[in-house]
């Protein structure tokens, strides 16, 4: 796989910048979130958005589908939702005088699927997403159906309501590239929202990319160079999540390392660089690993979070070579 050239990188960067600008008109004051969402999509990853209601998660997904010119569908997860309600059901129909089952695609057959409040569905229903998210196809009654390309799942969940919810299983969590915290905006941003939005009126978003262009950009992201030292750094970080102490029951999987590498490449492309870097890894490691580190219940009782564990791992895992001898100190570079 040939590395991209400068012009390809520059063009892709410009297009992604226009996408970001388009999304910035939808979601005010969430620049970091927008960057993370774009990077995640470029990395062809699924995103889990966690935040309180009314912060613009659905608006973000809608605006994203419009800006990318992609088909988007929304699924409101409820406890009585069935897997067939997501994947689709075979219906008995009479065609040409014969009756047979005809598959009726569910809402999952879209480029962007917004799984709203995904943790309210039963594990059985949640598991309907597993095959779709990993293999980008669904199997109903022994018949596989390919999902459209690109295919993204952007799920949301409310962190404050526990009653009537079903926490996502580890296997499900592992299929989300990022877990993003959607935070409320500050007062100036709220003022801007009040001035520029109307209740019940969707913002107008122009399509800045089409599906083919976006696919080419995601393909370009895969060609971003990954230096060996950066790959080694990713490996050390993921390996460090297996702390071996009582705080972490299970560390991140190799899929997490792949996800982190893909995200680092996407971020490098988003930044207009030919290669991934230590900085990319450090910036994305919390988003990739925070939901993949399974904490012990005692650690949870003590208030320890995945973010804290990942931050500690990054703190004690230096970028670059493993360590610096004590006889040497970093010189100040002006």
């Amino acid at each position: 796989m040939l590395p991209p050239n400068e012009s390809e990188i520059a063009e892709a960067r410009a297009r992604l910048a226009s996408l970001r600008d388009a999304l910035a008109n939808v979601l005010f004051g969430q620049d970091e979130l927008l960057d993370a969402v774009i990077v995640g999509l470029v990395a062809r990853g699924h995103l889990l958005l966690e935040g309180l209601p009314g912060l613009g998660k659905t608006e973000l997904v809608k605006g994203l589908s419009k800006a990318l010119g992609l088909d988007a569908k929304r699924i409101q997860f409820t406890p009585d939702l069935l897997p067939g309600d997501i994947t689709g059901n075979p219906l008995l129909q009479e065609v040409d005088g014969t009756r047979r089952f005809v598959f009726q695609p569910g809402p999952i057959f879209a480029n962007i699927v917004l799984a709203d409040e995904i943790n309210r569905a039963s594990p059985k229903t949640q598991s309907a997403l597993l095959e779709a998210m990993q293999e980008r196809r669904t199997t109903v009654m022994g018949e596989s159906h390919a999902l459209p390309d690109p295919f993204f799942v952007l799920a949301t969940q409310n962190p404050i309501e526990l009653e009537g919810t079903y926490p996502l299983p580890e296997a499900q969590l592992d299929r989300f590239l990022f877990k993003l915290d959607v935070r409320r905006a500050d007062a100036p941003t709220l003022a801007r929202i009040v001035l520029n939005r109307e209740m019940g009126v969707e913002p107008k978003v122009d399509a800045v990319l089409d599906a083919d262009t976006f696919r080419s950009i995601t393909a370009l992201a895969r060609r971003i160079h990954m230096p060996e030292v950066v790959a080694a750094y990713i490996a050390r970080i993921v390996d460090a999540t297996h702390t071996g102490d009582a705080t972490v029951r299970f560390g991140a999987s190799p899929r997490a390392a792949l996800a982190l590498a893909s995200a680092a490449k996407a971020r490098a492309l988003y930044a207009g660089r030919l290669n991934a870097s230590f900085e990319d890894v450090r910036a994305l490691a919390p988003l990739v690993l925070r939901h993949r580190v399974i904490l012990d219940y005692t650690a949870k009782l003590e208030g320890l979070t995945g973010d804290a564990v990942v931050a500690a791992i990054l703190e004690k895992t230096p970028a670059g070579p493993a360590s610096t001898p004590q006889s040497l100190a970093a010189a100040k570079i002006g």
Binding site: P3, E6, H225, P227, E228, V229, V230, A268, A271, R273, L274, N275, A276, S277, F278, E279, D280, A319, G320, P321, A322, T324, P325, Q326, S327, L328, A329, A330, A331, I333, G334
Partner: protein
């Protein structure tokens, strides 16, 4: 066209620049990593080296050996540590990553090395700098210890050698050697020798720690000396027997009655001496000699008599060979004691046969040429001092020496002494003198080795005169044999003895001088002197000073200036009318 070189050269130059920096950084990091692993080992090597240097300096070895060994060990340790840290050493890629991080290049250097993208423009800022660390402290401490071990003052101590096996005391060794020689030479009776060996072994069987006790050393010396004396007595008796045989052989059948009686007497005395000796000759020889008499000798044919004489001579030679060790030890002690000082022997008696023969007779020596009249005679001053001392000598001494008023003093003859030092000195004479010198009357004079100091020593009254009884002897004095008994006085002048193990035989070697000369940085003069043989009237020394008189002592109650009582020494000054409380108060006040 002129811009082409710059277009092509820049990437090459920047790659060269960054790779050169990467190599330098790699070397620095790898050295630091190796150094930190080596430091504890190096510190241990330094400690061992310090000990080795101190030990070598203490033992007197050159520093190059411990330092060289320490360096070699340090080199081996360095290689070992290098082998251990090799897996964690960094390569150029790691160094480029460090440069990427330090300069915020987002891994452009790593990518450029992989052929992705261009090399960034050079940046000169250093990435890592040295700083003080524990490893540096350890190595510095090790070097400081080594340097200190090389420079601190340290005396040479004796090398750590295993303690040598304790040897028996010299006297006991002499005795054992003597018994061994006696057994080899078969010079004495085996039964008597066995008894002697048992006594020596009894001393030897004591614990080694007790060998050098005063009692053991005294016993050893006593046993050795007594054995030597017994051997010498045996030799003398054998010599007397041989003398008798010689006279019989010389006289043939014409032995005067008087001489025959004398020979019989001498023969009886010699045989009695053999019977009483603690180390008699073999039983066969005793039996053979016990049948002898002048008449029997006279009846012997010449061949038998010559055989007897050879037997006696051979027995004497055996004795001399066997007792050579004992004589050597005595001679060495004589040398040490006399200090190479002259010894004069003179005798008083009839003018004829002359002083030399008198001395010979006095010492019981019959061998000719023992007294060498050609030796250097005392100077006139020495002679005068000696004669005056003789005249002042107590009458007891004269009597003991056989000198009588009116008897002519034969003369002063210097002997080839110090004993053992003269190559021509005869052992018989030396043995005879030895008895005199090491007898109870042995006197030691403080005496300088210079002859001129003799007069000074004699002038201060430190002449020691030893009376010697002349042996009765018969013969023609004119022909060299003394016929009449006489006396002799041996003047022995020697240096201070070293003192024996029991305190006898010499004075304590060092005494303080009469007047202290001790000063700061100086030394106290010491002198040696033997007071054990002082006679009445000898002055031990003078001391100048005043009696300590208490001038303020209470001299009794005084009324109106009149002294009623001058009091006496040690009288109490307290008045009787003082109460005990007052008395105690005064006592406490004047305490």
């Amino acid at each position: 066209m002129g811009s082409l070189p710059s277009l092509f050269s820049r990437p090459m130059n920047t790659e060269h620049y960054w790779m050169r920096r990467a190599r330098g950084l790699r070397r620095r990091v790898n050295f630091a990593r190796w150094f930190e692993c080596f430091a504890p080992v190096g510190f241990g090597v330094g400690l061992c080296g310090t000990v080795a240097v101190l030990a070598a300096r203490g033992a007197g070895y050159a520093l190059v050996y411990p330092l060289g060994a320490t360096g070699a060990v340090a080199l081996l340790a360095a290689l070992f540590v290098m082998r251990r840290v090799r897996p964690v050493l960094e390569n150029d890629g790691d160094a480029l990553a460090r440069l990427d991080l330090a300069h915020g290049l987002h891994n452009r250097l790593s990518s450029a090395r992989a052929g992705v993208g261009d090399w960034p423009a050079p940046k000169e800022a250093p990435v890592l700098r040295w700083r003080r660390s524990r490893a540096a402290d350890l190595v510095a401490a090790a070097l400081a210890l080594l340097l200190a071990a090389c420079l601190v003052p340290a005396g040479v101590v004796a090398a750590m050698k295993p303690p040598e096996k304790i040897q028996p005391p010299p006297a006991l060794r002499d005795l054992l050697a003597m018994t061994k020689r006696l057994r080899e030479e078969k010079a004495v009776d085996p039964a008597a020798l066995e008894s002697l060996e048992k006594r020596a072994e009894a001393l030897l069987k004591q614990p080694e720690s007790a060998w050098y006790d005063t009692t053991t050393m005294e016993a050893s010396e006593h046993l050795r000396d007594r054995t030597g004396e017994a051997l010498r007595d045996l030799d003398k008796d054998l010599a007397a027997l041989k003398g008798v045989a010689d006279r019989v052989a010389e006289s043939g059948e014409l032995i005067p009655e008087e001489l025959s009686a004398q020979l019989a007497k001498n023969l009886a005395e010699a045989l009695e001496g053999l019977d009483l000796s603690t180390l008699p000759p073999s039983k066969e020889l005793r039996d053979k000699l016990g049948k002898l008499s002048p008449a029997a000798m006279k009846a012997m044919d010449k061949k038998t008599l010559d055989e007897l004489r050879r037997t006696l001579a051979e027995q004497r030679r055996r004795l001399r060979r066997a007792s050579a060790d004992a004589k050597d030890s005595k001679a060495s002690s004589r040398k040490a004691s006399s200090g190479g000082l002259p010894v004069f022997v003179f005798a008083c008696g009839p003018a004829d046969p002359g002083p030399a023969m008198l001395v010979k007779n006095a010492l019981g020596v019959t061998a000719s040429g023992v007294v060498d009249s050609g030796l250097k005679a005392p100077t006139d001053a020495e002679r005068q001092v000696i004669m005056e001392s003789l005249q002042k000598a107590p009458p007891r001494l004269y009597t003991q020496a056989g000198c009588k008023p009116g008897m002519q003093v034969a003369g002063i003859v210097p002997l080839p002494l110090p004993p053992g030092s003269a190559p021509d000195a005869d052992d018989d004479l030396l043995d005879a003198l030895e008895d005199l010198v090491y007898g109870d009357a042995y006197a030691v004079l403080e005496f300088e080795p210079e002859r001129r100091a003799l007069a000074a020593a004699l002038a201060v009254g430190r002449l020691r005169l030893l009376p010697v009884s002349l042996k009765d002897c018969n013969g023609d004095c004119k022909s060299g044999s003394c016929e009449k008994p006489g006396g002799a006085i041996v003047v022995v002048m020697g240096a201070a003895g070293a003192g024996g193990p029991g305190g006898g035989g010499g004075p304590a070697p060092l005494q303080m001088g009469d007047k202290s000369t001790a000063q700061a940085g100086g030394s106290e003069q010491l002198k040696a002197g033997d007071r054990s043989h002082d006679t009445l009237g000898d002055m031990e020394g003078l001391t100048s000073g005043k009696h300590k008189v208490d001038k303020d002592a209470y001299r009794g109650p005084v009324a109106g200036g009149a002294i009623s009582s001058e009091g006496e020494g040690s009288e109490s000054v307290w008045r009787d009318n003082l109460t005990p409380e007052e008395r105690e108060t005064l006592r406490q006040y004047f305490k």
